[in-house]
Each structure stands twice: as C-alpha cells, then as structure tokens.
C-alpha cells in the first residue's frame, strides 16, 4: 500500500512540476516579446525573491496568511462545503483582533495576544457559520450565501475602520496602532517575517492529522465524499454542513488577526484584501491536502514576490507581471482541477 501511495504521490508531483515548467516557459516567452531587457526581467521574475534577505523574508511572510486561508478552504472543500466568503471572514478577524488589542493596551502580550486571536477565530467562524446554518436550515446555496454575507461584512468593517475607529493622527485610513507587546517577534530583519510562520506550519500539520485521524475529521471527510452513504451509516450530516464552514471561517479569521499582529500592527482599510481569494487558489493547488498547503502557499507567495521584484528592477509593467502570474496560476490550477475531475470520472466508471 505504502508503495502505491508513493507512486501516486510521485506521479502527482511530476505532473505538477511539468505544468509549472511549461507555464514558466510561456512566461519567459511573454517577457522575451514584451520586454526591452528580457534577461534582467526574467532574472528578477524568477530569481528576484532570493536575491536579498529582505525579499526572501517578505515572501515567506506573505505565505503565512495564505497558509491559514488555504487551510480554511481545504477543510471546507474536503467536506464538500463551499466557502467563497474568505475575504470578509479574514477582514472581520483582522478588525476584531485589533479592537481587542486596542481595548487592552496594558495587558502582557501572552494574555492579550491569544485573546485577540481567539476573538478573530470566533468572528470568522461565526460569519462563515452563518452560511452553514442557512444551508442546514433552508438548503441555501453556500457558494452564494457565503459570498454575499462576506461582501456585506467587508462594508461593515470598512465602516468601522474609516469611521468610529479611524486614527485621526494618521493620514491613512486605519485604526490606531496596537501596543508594542502584541507585535509578533520579527525573526528575519529587515524583512517583515515574523514568528507566526512556525505557527502556520504547525497548524497545517495539525490540520492534516485532525482530518485524517480524528473523529470529526473522519466524519467530515466521509460527508465530503458521499453524503448519502454518511447519512445511511448514521453520521449527522446536517452538522457537517455547519462545522466545516465554521472551521474554515475560523482559519480565515485567524489569518486576519495574524496579519494585523505580525505585519501591519493596525487594521488598515482592506488590510487582508486578496487573502480570501488567494486562499482558494492555494487550496486548489494543494488539492485540499492540508500538508500540501504549505508548499502551495510558498509557491503562490514566490510568484507574487517575483512579480514585484521584476517590476521594481526591470521594465516589467504591473500588467505584464499580473499576466505572467495569471498564466502560471491558470495552468497550475487547471492541472490541479483536471486531477480532481479525473478522479471523479474514474469514480463514476466504477459506480456504473
């Protein structure tokens, strides 16, 4: 069995590496056509993130939030629940964490910090859980309800950040700065990389074991694969329309809280923008495997850092950078999705 598993993993990995190679080739071609200094552009696009400790650290820092949101989506998708509301969940997590920390300016970091993160998890879980509850109660489509609820939540958070919580001493649209003791330890100065990357990696490993080995994880996976079978076997399938959503939302809230405490130290307007959508991308690349979320998030962050470096150091425009990123991303997700459909097709064949 172990042999089979390794073989399967290898074939998945070779497929992925091949796709990445092809997409890189296309990007190189694009740059060759569109850039006046293609050598420089290509160098910074692919090697740029590794040229300076500052870039490398920031790239790693960016992957932290993506790991959390990617995990959130992976858990939801594995259970066949659908969470498109990551943006709002992460943003509300950022706000609640900030509010808690601003309310406790004199607590020791070891007390206030966890309190803020718990608050972020709870709000994220609540926002996503709403969609789970709607689905359980009235059969509302989760894709739509999670997206709509999240869109509304973004506006509400915007109101607080730019209204009652706005810091008048700062010209940016932001809340006040959180106290020193809550700011996570930077471990790779001068970059913004902070200690929470270890937490993110540990969380991914923990989630993997949770899904594979725990009672809830098992029931969630079974519901995700075959709801009728699960119901027949006496699993409370209604519960697992809600629980995975809440867990997913909790991860998103956590991503928001960590972004505030580790990187920005305040809740700026749109501080978590992109984390939710990109989390879906990360989960797709990882094929919803919590362990694979780690490299997938790193890869995503690497692409972004490369695009930034190429813009800064070569004549690569913002548009070209985004197109290049898009090409790679499109092919890699398509490959991941193809695998998904492929296994479904096989399943159907057997079922017949």
């Amino acid at each position: 069995m172990a042999k089979q598993r390794v073989a399967k993993l290898l074939s998945t990995a070779t497929g992925l590496i091949l796709t990445i190679a092809i997409s890189f080739a296309i990007v190189i071609l694009l740059i060759l056509v569109l850039s006046d200094e293609p050598g420089r552009a290509i160098y910074f696009f692919f090697i740029g993130p590794f040229t300076k400790a500052y870039y490398l650290g920031n790239m790693l820092n960016q992957s932290i939030g993506l790991m959390f949101t990617g995990l959130g989506i992976a858990v939801a998708f594995k259970s066949s629940t659908f969470n498109l509301g990551g943006e709002g969940q992460a943003y509300s997590g950022a706000l609640v964490a900030t509010v808690i920390l601003l309310a406790l300016p004199n607590m020791p970091g070891i007390v206030g910090g966890p309190a803020a993160l718990i608050g972020a998890v709870v709000i994220g879980a609540f926002v996503a859980g709403l969609s789970g509850f709607f689905k359980m109660r009235w059969g509302t489509d989760q894709l739509i309800s999670s997206f709509l609820v999240s869109s509304a939540v973004i506006l509400i958070v915007n109101y607080f950040v730019t209204g009652p919580l706005d810091d008048p001493t700062n010209s940016m649209l932001t809340t006040a700065r959180i106290a020193e003791q809550y700011q996570l330890l930077l471990i790779f100065k001068p970059s913004k990389l902070d200690i929470s990357i270890f937490f993110a990696v540990a969380t991914a490993i923990g989630t993997y074991f949770f899904m594979q080995r725990s009672h809830w994880g098992y029931e969630m996976r079974m519901c995700g694969i075959n709801r009728e079978f699960s119901k027949y076997a006496g699993i409370n399938v209604g519960k697992y329309l809600l629980v995975p959503m809440a867990i997913s939302g909790g991860f998103h809230g956590l991503a928001g809280g960590i972004t505030v405490m580790g990187t920005h130290y305040r809740c700026l307007k749109g501080v978590t923008a992109g984390l939710g959508w990109n989390g879906i991308a990360v989960a797709l690349i990882a094929k919803n495997n919590p362990l694979a979320v780690i490299p997938a998030a790193l890869f995503f962050a690497y692409l972004d850092a490369g695009a930034k470096a190429a813009m800064l150091h070569a004549d690569v425009t913002f548009e070209l950078a985004k197109i290049a990123q898009g090409v790679i991303f499109f092919l890699v997700t398509a490959q991941a999705l193809y695998g998904l459909f492929d296994s479904k097709k096989k399943r159907k064949k057997v079922a017949r």
């Binding site: 080995r213 725990s214 009672h215 029931e219 079974m222 694969i225 076997a233 079922a351």
Partner: protein, 519 residues
C-alpha cells in the same frame, strides 16, 4: 420485414458484470401498440435505451422501416422518427409548455432569435391535432403530472416521431389520468403512429396492446398476440418457474417483536396515491420476513423509512420496543439498527474511500481514544472482517476497486459485525452472481438461527420464497397479501399478488378507482 426489427441485441455492463440483454429479438409492426413486459432487471429498459441511442449495444442489429440503422444518440433517434417518453419527465419548470416542447429545436427569427410566436403556433397545432388538453402558454411547474406527460408526448410529436416509446407511463399517474393516457394512445394509433409500451402492469397490456413481448433475465421468453393470452399466463411467463435457489431453511421459534410498523404511510403533496399506505409490519426474533413486490410499489420507501433516510408522514415504528418513529439515521444506528441497502454502490459504500474507512463507518466511535482514531485497532478490525467474510480485498484499497460481490460482502461484514438483533436486507443479491448470492443467503439464515429478526425486501421471488417465514406482498404501497410460507404457497400465487391480481386488503384508503377501458 417488420416495421422495427431488433435482432440479436446484446448488452453487457462490464462494471457489474450484468448481461442486461442477451441476444434479444424484438419485432414491432407498423401502427400497433406493442407491450414489452418483465420484472425489474429483466432488461426491458436497457433494450429501449439501446433503441433510443442512450447506450450502444455490444452486438446485434436494428432495422427500422426496412433500413439498417445505427443509432448513436437520441438526436439520431429523433431524426429517424423515434421518440421516447421517459418515466421521469425532463421538463424545465420555469419554461412554458411551448418553450419546453421546442427546446433544442426552436424556430428562429433572423437565424438568431427564438421566434416565440411561431413556437406557440406550431405547438398549438400539434396539441389540437392530437386532442391534448394543455395550454401552450402555461408554465410547466403549474401542470399536473398527467399534463406533464402530455407535454413529453407533444415534444416527441413536434419532432415528427412515428414510433413512440413509453417507459412505464402509468407509474406516476392517477386512475383518471391513466384513462386519459389510454385515450391519447388510441388517438395516436388512429393517426398511424406506432407505440412501444414498457410496463410491468398486466392491466395495461391486456387493455391496450396488440402484441406483447415478455422478457426475463435479459432474454425474450415469449412473444404473443394479446388476444391469445390472459393475465395469469403473462404473470407466469414474467416470473418464470425455475427455482435456482438451494438453501436449507431449518425450523425456528419466534421470540419477541424486534421491529414493528404501525399504520406507516407516506403521502406526497399533490399526489393522490400515497407511496406507502398504512403499512403494518412485525418482525419477531428468529423470524425472516420477506417483503415482495414489483419495484415502484413501495419497497424502496419501506427501506428508506426503516433506515431513517425518509420520514413517514403518518404512523409509528418501534425497534426493540423503543418508539423510533422520529429518529434520525444516527439515532437509529445507536438504537441497534443494521441495514444492507439496495443501492450498495452509492448508499452502502463509499467507493473512493478505503476498505478500512468503509468498514468502520457505522462504529468509528469504538476506535477512538481521546478523539483520535486508533489506526492499529482499525486495521485489526478490518483484517478480521476481511478474513471472516473472505473478502477479496486488502484493507487499504479503495472500495471502488472491489468487484460487486466483494463490495456486498464488505457491507455485510460491516453490518453484521455489530451483533444487532434486527437486520434489514434490501435487494441483497441484485446483480450478484450465484456464488455471492448463496453467501448472502447463508448469512441471512445464520442470523435467523442466531435469533435475530431479519427483514428481506426483494423483488426476486425465488429468494423470498426460499428464505422467508412470513411473506408480505406490496402493491401500490399497500400490503395486499400477508402469507405464511408453507409448501402450498407458490411463486404463481405471490406473483399474482405482486401484479395486483389478488388483493386481501380492503382496497386503497381513498377509493376512487375507475374501471380502465380500452382506448
């Protein structure tokens, strides 16, 4: 040559190993109503799927109007003038009748826009010509079931169908609607159409058809002129006489009641006939109760109610004396239910999951220590089941890699591992080969000897007659026969109950049966 000639049609489903059609010949004359009858799984639906291009035969030829034809898909069938009305209607609820009818071949304006006016006009013409009573501008969701069926027929006529296949057309209709359908069929006949009527209802055959082809086990067993046969003979042809089953059913003593249903009914809104009509049922320990019936008469519903997958709208149910009427499937499992479902590939097993995960699903709580599944225990348990039931599998394999018989063994192993004193088996040998079936039978009898109460729901008469102590026959959701399985009981008698020719009950709840006349 006949109008439609199917010759040597063979179809094998490799995944399940079922030979659905075995060198089948069917010949239909122009302008006749030709009934194709048989029990569930006799192969009649498969044959029609092949004729309508939904599936491709492995061997055999189709000649239609004197020409050899290959029918690749339903569109090709339509082009040839073959139309099919499915048992389950395929209408868009928010579209009007006219829009539904023209869907896929809409009349165009300037080659781009749908010409709604001429759509309505064309559809009205078809409706009026054939004397239907539907309004082309009405939305499909507002129609009665009978009207929806009319829309389906109009759809085929709009596509110029000359040969109409009707798959179990009366299964969802009320008596009045059936009568009106028969009138419609008569009308179509007078306009020169040819009709193939697939059914397992003998009334329809004797009232409507000119000729009848009887299928059993994927083969044609008889072709008759309807005027030359009576219902009893047809029912004998359908169920057959050869008993293959070899089991030793020893004597037994009954103990306490383990499962009891009292007046269980399922009524659906908008449907006159209940799916289950005041079912009383009792299974005692040491007793094997068989529920026989043709599919569509309430067998699946009883399975769903007992399994907790569907609530009854009326009545109550007791498991070991506990009122479990409103229990969820989860609570039922806790109350000791064990159950082998009819749909073993989807409901009974999760094919992408490993054998291990399939084996522990009903009792994974037993393998937890501090909320964590103990892998060694799971592995040991699964290996034990694999050995005990000699399942040809390894524990880490996806269940989908197993053969049908081994999947069923895996389900049996799981359901029997809990030592429940009540076990429900629904169609447990459907599609299995003889050796696997035999295995299932032995297990069922073992349980009965052990003193468990066993309920067997099956449309296979051989197994009901070979195994059950008490036999209940369902017809149209009612228990029409409650029989002790003695030596005098024969397949023919049960078959007559199953087909509604005998009825010991006091008729349906709401008596609004009208005599069905020849259209």
């Amino acid at each position: 040559m006949a109008y439609l000639q199917m010759h040597g049609i063979t179809k094998l489903y490799p995944a399940s190993g079922v030979l659905a059609n075995d060198a089948v010949d069917l010949s239909v004359e122009e302008n006749e109503i030709h009934a194709v009858i048989g029990e569930n799984g006799a192969g009649k639906s498969t044959l029609m799927k092949l004729l309508y291009g939904l599936e491709q035969p492995d061997a055999g030829e189709i000649h239609f109007r004197g020409k050899h034809v290959a029918i690749r898909d339903p569109l090709a069938a339509n082009r040839l003038g073959i139309g099919m009305v499915h048992q389950h209607f395929k209408l868009v609820p928010d579209f009007t009748v006219a829009e539904n009818v023209v869907l896929g071949m809409e009349p165009r304006k300037q080659g781009l826009f749908i010409d709604r006016q001429s759509a309505v006009k064309d559809v009205t013409k078809v409706i009026e010509e054939h004397g239907f009573s539907i309004d082309p501008k009405q939305k499909a969701k507002d129609l009665t079931v009978g009207q929806m069926q009319q829309v389906e027929i109009v759809k085929m006529l709009y596509r110029n169908a000359e040969l109409l296949i009707l798959d179990e057309p009366t299964s969802v209709l009320t008596e009045q609607e059936i009568e009106s359908l028969f009138a419609t069929l008569g009308n179509l006949l007078s306009r020169g159409k040819t009709i193939i009527l697939i059914t397992h209802k003998l009334d329809e055959v004797t009232h409507m058809s000119h000729r009848v082809t009887v299928m059993r086990g994927g083969k044609v067993v008889a072709v008759r002129n309807t005027s030359d046969v009576d219902k009893r003979e047809l029912s004998r042809l359908m169920v057959g006489k050869d008993i293959l089953l070899q089991v030793n059913r020893g004597p037994t003593t009954y103990g306490d009641t383990v499962l009891e249903m009292k007046e269980i009914s399922i009524r659906c809104r908008g449907q006159e006939r209940p799916l289950l009509d005041r079912i009383d049922l009792q299974v005692r320990s040491g007793e094997l109760v068989g529920i026989a019936g043709v599919g569509g008469n309430g067998l699946a519903e009883i399975e769903d109610v007992i399994g907790g997958l569907r609530g009854a709208t009326q009545g109550s149910m007791f498991l070991n004396g506990v009122d479990v009427t409103s229990f969820s499937s989860e609570q039922l499992r806790e109350a000791g239910l064990a159950y082998v479902p009819a749909d073993r590939l989807h409901r009974g097993a999760s094919l992408p999951s490993t054998v291990r995960e399939n084996c522990i699903v009903t009792k994974h709580h037993d393998f937890l220590r501090a909320g964590v599944l103990q892998r060694r225990d799971v592995r040991e348990f699964t290996r034990h089941l694999i050995d005990q039931f000699s399942i040809a599998a390894s524990e880490g394999m996806p269940a989908g890699n197993l053969s049908g018989g081994n999947i069923q063994k895996m389900i049996l192993a799981r359901e029997l591992s809990g030592q429940s004193n009540f076990i429900l088996f629904s169609e447990p040998t459907w599609g299995l080969d003889i050796a696997s079936s035999q295995f299932v039978y032995e297990k069922m009898l073992e349980l009965r000897e052990r003193g468990a109460g066993v309920l067997l729901i099956s449309s296979n008469l051989d197994e009901i007659l070979g195994l059950a102590d008490t036999i209940l026959v369902l017809y149209r959701g009612r228990v029409v026969g409650r029989l002790e399985n003695t030596d005098t009981l024969s397949k023919e008698i049960i078959g007559e109950y199953m087909l509604g020719l005998r009825d010991d009950s006091h008729g349906p709840h709401e008596t609004n049966q009208t005599e069905v006349r020849r259209g």
